[in-house]
Symmetry: C2
Subunit: 207 residues, 2 copies
């Protein structure tokens, strides 16, 4: 009986070793499993990277929203009845762009605590999955807003002779430049959100 | 010595049980670990769902590309020098839309074998991570193309009096309707790709 148990232990050892389970519980993960310190370090690094990217994306979206919201240009000449002025609510797409970027900024602020939880507990899967679901939705929203505005601002720069849509960026150059900058910022934020999704997949994966 | 080993074995038993490792290796995962059949079933279900969604997204993107590529309308009246005609290459955004949807269709076809590998080997992480990385890029491309075209087709329907861009959908109704349908298809494909990313995160997660 005693030898039987001893044999069973010696069978189990390579299996527990390949799953990196030592005899002493060095670090206990949320599901009760025991994880080695170097894998914990990698996961923690990924979580810290996610947090930093989240801050960068937040800066980009808040910058984009504020830039478009405050972009305004009045031409130095006017007629008796009319003053030539451009601001974001002349173009419905820019209103959508500003609202979408504000929503994404709000989401990113609210997601920071979850990101911090993922740094403290690198093996917790529930907050990570929550972040994945909402990150995917917000990445879609950011990219949609940025590319819709990009197509409108392309039209404002170049016009389209086939449809008789004339460009207005010769007149409202500063306005167009502000909006173009905001579009670039928002596209970068969208790309960062997609990159965060990939990082999350790596940090969720079984080693 | 013998009692010492026996005690150690009795400590280890609940741990191996909580990770659902029986004495007999029922199913061996790619990393040499032993996995229970019910978890394998869940992962396999997720992989099959991913494959079906991939087929749906493929149908949506190929439909969108073909619809826009073949959308053409000629008005029944013409002058001596001019014939009123609308097709996709009158608007640069529609050219981008068609190319982007064709690229995504091609990617989805090429990704099917990897999806099948994930069905056969539900615990393999490498093909799944590859799919996550490229799915994220393609989701971005699809959503960008769809929303850029959506903003242009909104302009074609409603126009914008502030910028003197007049709508042309009263004249070219059939053309506008084809493109609008294609935009909806492409947006659905983008949403499906984001949903596949979430499914991949669930199937990568440690239980």
């Amino acid at each position: 009986m005693a030898t039987d148990k001893a044999v069973e232990t010696s069978i189990n050892i390579p299996d527990t070793k390949s799953k990196s389970k030592g005899k002493a519980p060095l670090f206990v993960s949320s599901n009760g499993g025991v994880e080695p310190p170097q894998r914990r370090g990698v996961k923690k690094g990924l979580a810290i990277g996610d947090f930093i990217l989240r801050l960068c994306a937040m800066g980009a979206t808040i910058g984009a929203a504020v830039t478009v919201g405050s972009a305004q240009q009045t031409l130095p000449f006017f007629t008796q009845f009319f003053q030539f002025q451009a601001q974001y609510n002349d173009i419905p797409t820019l209103v959508f762009f500003m609202i979408a970027n504000a929503i994404v900024t709000g989401y990113l602020v609210l997601s920071l605590p979850f990101s911090i939880i993922c740094i403290i507990r690198p093996f917790a899967t529930t907050p990570r999955l929550l972040l994945v679901i909402f990150d995917a939705a917000m990445a879609g929203l950011t990219i949609a807003a940025a590319s819709a505005t990009a197509s409108i601002i392309y039209l404002a720069h170049n016009g389209n002779p086939n449809t008789n849509w004339l460009p207005f960026c010769q007149q409202f150059g500063d306005f167009c430049q502000s909006v173009s900058g905001a579009v670039v910022g928002s596209l970068i934020a969208g790309a960062l959100l997609l990159f965060m999704l990939i990082l999350s997949a790596f940090s969720l994966k079984r080693s």
